[in-house]
Structures are given as structure tokens and as C-alpha cells.
Symmetry: C2
DNA sequence: TTGTATGCGTTATCAT
DNA sequence: ATGATAACGCATACAA
């Protein structure tokens, strides 16, 4: 039989035992004597046998794969450093466990739901990561109904039967506001992500709380969409106010970088006339001008942990929620004390 | 039989025919009479039957999935807008065809090879996309030996049995150089990607050819690594030369943006003292200061085409190489005529 | 057209 | 406790 890959029957034949025995032995399960077990191992090794993933999948009704669906306009996807890093983290764990990652990228939420249905119906995956949580997220109910094991990235704001792996973004935002307050800013604005995203909302709330805690009225908030284009518009609006902010806390780096450019385009100096903070600490953040003060989050580690938790759940283990260490605030050169108010007035 | 999903046998039973007949009917193949065919369709519909992906996989020895392995340091992955867009394009096609994408992210080339072996050995995928081609790419031989159907993104510089889907980056680079020459630059440098990458090399060669064609000696070239950090160093080296360039053609946007910052950090004005061009046209390119003159490539369309071609190949169709329309040169504000030489001398 | 064998590993059942 | 046997899952190919 040249070329044909050896099957479990071949191994059984060679070892002079039954298929069943081989299966038990190779899966390290009781019911096989030590001597036979060794004979089976030897035979398997000599034949170069390795299990057929497909046959295994069929007989165990498992996919040995996990799924991730990303719902974003494709062109914008590239701008966000989160997913690639997250996926890389997931991968390191999955590959150790012989699991694969099935990835889907869809343009909108409707396609996303169809995607989950399909992954489940076809049995492509044993579980999924649920990211970019939304306010009153309808995907929770869908996944529960489908019965697909799920790990959510952060905690949904509604009821959820799923384990959550969380990376609290509030401390980072709080640190940013506190830093700005400490160096003398009082008119601190926020460019938020969409409020229908849990992380858009939670960062905004953290900003508002930190402002209040500092005895300041939460300044103007412009809701944007995490994109550079959206930020350009939001920033322009804020800077056009009668009393423009002296500092802006952005909900991610991409918007912050775009914001810096917008300010400069408008003739402002950063950080002289406007301080800026970001969130994520993308690679580029340290290499823009001025280097961006931001919050470093470890998406890679998040991916690793989420993968481990989901694997455990898929294997039937209960798992309680996990909290990742929150992001660390990194001060670079895009923040500085505000110029004196007379100077500001002259400019605006 | 509550809860159990209907099998092909159930359908056969209900329609009063054999399993085989059902299979033929449902796959629209000859050998089933019209009347029976309709009976079978009705039965399948009533039972809500849908084919089991796993059983199909086993019996057809196909995975109904395609693979992509990305070998990059995870943290840097997020910076490059190419893969997310490419993947999104791939996905749109695959989902139409009921195929999945299996993604692997690995830190280095050794892990990548192991990855291909595993995908093939486990029969996880029916074919793969080969990206980030390298000079004398050893993966070609590996994939050929494994016998995994493959589509390469761009043409390898060695012999290759695989179909290539190409997006020529040379016209874009040529356009960038020509543009700079036209507005008066003569000392035009290049920050290249690693030469062991085909696209690092080809962009450099295009730069050199364009310079020669313009009657200019190809200026200094700094080989870098496509990252912001690498670019910062390369840019610093170029600007420290006795005769620093008045313009730099970068091999990608990320390096260009970092380069702009580096120049500004060094007290130079962009584009006043230094013109800069990029490559990719990432979303951010239009929203940095100054907005980046660059080459827009359509990674999304590239992904779609590559997916279609690979699907055809996997289905047994021969396919000849495909050429995508090359990137379009987009002029923004990071390029301008050079300042007079006296002004430059004063600065340097 | 139909019945049956095939692909492959897992697992429940049975005999020792 | 150890091992054999057979059923299972499901679509497809092929002989009947």
C-alpha cells in the first residue's frame, strides 16, 4: 500500500490487536495492558501513524477549532492594531493544543449573525470569541440559543451566561485624565468611540467619573467611531467650540493620532496648545510627532488568556471570569501643561 | 427522535428511497428521476435536513477550508494594514462558497513551516495562500513536496509551480520617484523593506530604475524592516549624511509616517525641508500631518481575487497567473518642491 | 435506480 | 481488568 497513509486498522493489524484497543491505548485510557499498550505504540510509531483529523471530527462531533468573527468595514479593520495582536495571542495557545482558528470578517452585524449560525450549523468550531461587545448585545442571546460555547471579551452590560475575560479600560482612562489634571488642565474633552460599543461607553464613563472626581465638570464629549476620519471631524468640532479644550482624551490611538494632525492643521501646537492622549499603544504611537502619551494594553496576552479559557470551557470545564491586568499609562510627549489662558485666548 | 438533527437516512426513509438516491438528488446530479427527485427535495425540506460538514469532509477527503499563515512578530502585525484588508477580501469570497478560512499567526519562519506541515497533515485546509514571499523562498519547495495547492501573492523570484496573483508594486514606486523628480528633487533616498522579501527588493529595484531613467544616480538606500522603529533609525541615518536627501521614498506607509516624525523631531519641516512618500495608503495616511502622499493598493480586491483563484485550483481547474491593477499614486501634502539649496545648507 | 462498501476513529457492549 | 467486536456518524462511489 504505497502512499496511503496508515489507518488505525493498519496499526491494529500490525500490533495484532483490535481497532478499539489501539484507540484506547493511543488516547492513554484505561483498559489496555502495559505490554499490549507498548506493542501498539511501537506499531503506530513504525507505521508513522497519525490520527485523521477528519475521522476524529466525525466520530467525536467536534471541530477542534475555535471561531472568531470580526464585524467591521474591511478598510477600517487594518487601522486597528487590536485584532492582529489578539489573534496572534490566541494562535500561540491554539497551536499548542492542536486547534485551529477559523476567522471570519464580515461587513456588518447581520452578516455576523449569519456567520455564527453557519459556524455552528456546519460544526466548524467548538466555541467562539465574542468581541466588540455592544450595548444590549443581541448576539448573546443568539449564541445562547445556538448553544455555542462562548467567551466574551469584557463583560456584557446585560445578562450573560458566558464566561468573560476582561481587560478593564477604565484605569487607563482615569490615569490619563488624572495626569492631565495634575499638569494643570481643566478643560479636558473626550473623543469617544460609538456608545453602542461597551468599550466606547465604558471609556466615556471612566472619563466622566475621573473628571468629576477631580472636581471638574466633564467637558465636551464628541462621540466618534474609532476611525481616523471620524476623529478628524470630532476634533474639529471640539476645537471650534467657544471655549475649546486644552486637552483631549481619545478613546484609541488611531483617533488620537488623527486628532493631533487635525489640531496641527488648524494651526495649533501639540502639546503646546493642545495635549492629547490615546489608548492602545500601537507600534506607531511612539513614532508619531509628538510621540503619543497613551495607555498600553496587551492584546496579545488577552488573546492567550481568552484562548485558554475558551479551550477549558469547550473541554467541559467550568471557568469563572478572568481579569487581565489593566493597561499601563505611558507618558510621552503629546501632553504638557496648558499654555496660559491669555495665550490661548489670543489664538482662538 | 427529538433534538437529533436529521440525517440523510432519515430523508431517504421519508422519501421512500435509498441513501444514495438522496445524495444524488440533493447534489443535482443525473441518475434520479424527476418525480423521485421532487419527493426527495420535499422530504429534505420537511425535515430541515442540511448536510453534515464533517461527514462530507470525511467522505470527500476535503476540508472545505483554505489556510493562511502569517509569519510576523505579533506586536508588529497590528501595524500593517495589509493583512486585515486582504483577509477581509478573502472572506467575502469564501463565505459565498461555504468555505472557511483557517488562520495561523506564527513568530518565525520555522514555526511557519511546521504550520504548513500540520495544516496538510491534519487535512485542515485544501489549499493555502503564500504571502510575504522571500528571496529564494524555501516554502515553495516545501509546499510542492507536501502537495498542498497554493496561490502565491506576487511571483516568486525563483522557479515556482504555483499560480501567482500579482499586484505589481513597481508602477507605484516609479510614480513616486517621477513625481518627486518633476517637482524638482534630485537627492531622493529610499527606505527599503528587508531585501529578503520579494516586495522589499522589488520596490527598491523600481526606485533605482526610476532614478536611473530620470538621469539621476540612485541616491542612498537604507534597508529597514517595514516597522516604525526601524524606519526611525533608517531615517536618522539618511538625514545625518553629509548630503542629506531632500526627499525619501518609503517602502510602506508605516515607515513613512515614522519618517515624517523623525524628520520633524530633527527640526526639519515636511514637506518644506523633506518630502516623503509612502506605500499602501492606510486609512491613517490621509490623517497624519502633513497628509501622506502615497500609493494606494487594494488589498481587499487582492484578497478576493486570490481567493477565487485558489478555489478554482482546489476544485481542479488550472488557472493562469492573474495581474491585479497596480496601485494608484495619490498626491497629498507630504511632498513639495525642495527648498533652495542655500536654505538647505544653512540647516544642515 | 438501488443497495452496499468505503473512509476512520470513537465508544458502547460483550466475552474473557 | 483486559481485550475483541460491532455500531455509529454521513456522504459518496461503485457494483449490481
Amino acid at each position: 500500500m504505497p502512499g496511503r497513509r496508515p489507518t488505525i486498522s493498519d496499526v491494529a493489524h500490525r500490533a495484532g490487536v483490535s481497532k478499539g484497543a489501539v484507540s484506547y491505548a493511543l488516547n492513554n485510557r484505561a483498559g489496555v495492558g502495559t505490554a499490549t499498550r507498548e506493542r501498539i505504540f511501537a506499531a503506530a510509531h513504525e507505521l508513522g501513524w497519525q490520527p485523521s483529523h477528519r475521522a476524529r471530527s466525525l466520530s467525536t462531533s467536534r471541530a477542534f477549532a475555535l471561531g472568531l468573527i470580526i464585524a467591521r468595514p474591511p478598510r477600517l479593520l487594518g487601522a486597528d492594531p487590536f485584532f492582529p495582536s489578539f489573534i496572534a495571542g490566541v494562535e500561540t495557545v491554539l497551536s499548542e493544543h492542536g486547534r485551529a482558528l477559523v476567522l471570519q470578517v464580515v461587513p456588518d452585524s447581520a452578516a455576523e449573525k449569519a456567520g455564527y449560525r453557519r459556524l455552528a450549523a456546519e460544526g466548524r468550531v467548538d466555541g467562539v470569541f465574542l468581541s466588540d461587545l455592544r450595548h444590549d448585545d443581541s448576539r448573546i442571546a443568539l449564541l445562547e440559543q445556538i448553544g455555542l460555547p462562548t467567551v466574551t471579551l469584557n463583560r456584557p452590560d446585560g445578562p450573560s451566561p458566558f464566561t468573560a475575560v476582561c481587560l478593564d479600560d477604565r484605569p487607563g482612562i482615569t490615569a490619563a485624565v488624572n495626569h492631565l489634571v495634575q499638569i494643570g488642565h481643566t478643560r479636558i474633552a473626550h473623543v469617544a468611540g460609538p456608545h453602542h460599543f461597551v468599550h466606547g461607553r465604558s471609556r466615556r464613563l471612566a472619563y466622566e467619573a475621573a473628571m468629576s472626581d477631580a472636581g471638574l465638570a466633564p467637558g465636551p464629549v464628541a462621540e466618534s467611531d474609532f476611525t481616523a476620519a471620524g476623529s478628524a471631524q470630532a476634533t474639529a468640532e471640539l476645537l471650534a467650540l467657544a471655549e475649546p479644550p486644552t486637552a483631549i482624551v481619545y478613546a484609541n490611538d488611531l483617533m488620537a493620532i488623527s486628532g493631533i494632525s487635525g489640531a496641527r492643521q488648524g494651526g495649533l501646537d501639540v502639546p503646546g496648545d493642545l495635549s492629547v492622549t490615546g489608548f492602545d499603544d500601537a507600534e506607531l504611537a511612539a513614532y508619531v510627532f509628538p510621540p503619543l502619551t497613551t495607555v498600553r494594553t496587551d492584546a496579545y496576552a488577552w488573546g492567550q488568556t481568552a484562548a485558554r479559557v475558551l479551550l477549558a470551557i469547550v473541554d467541559g470545564t467550568q471557568h469563572k471570569d478572568v481579569d487581565m491586568p489593566p493597561g499601563r499609562f505611558v507618558v510621552r510627549a503629546s501632553t504638557a501643561p496648558p499654555s496660559t489662558s491669555t495665550e490661548r485666548q489670543r489664538r482662538s
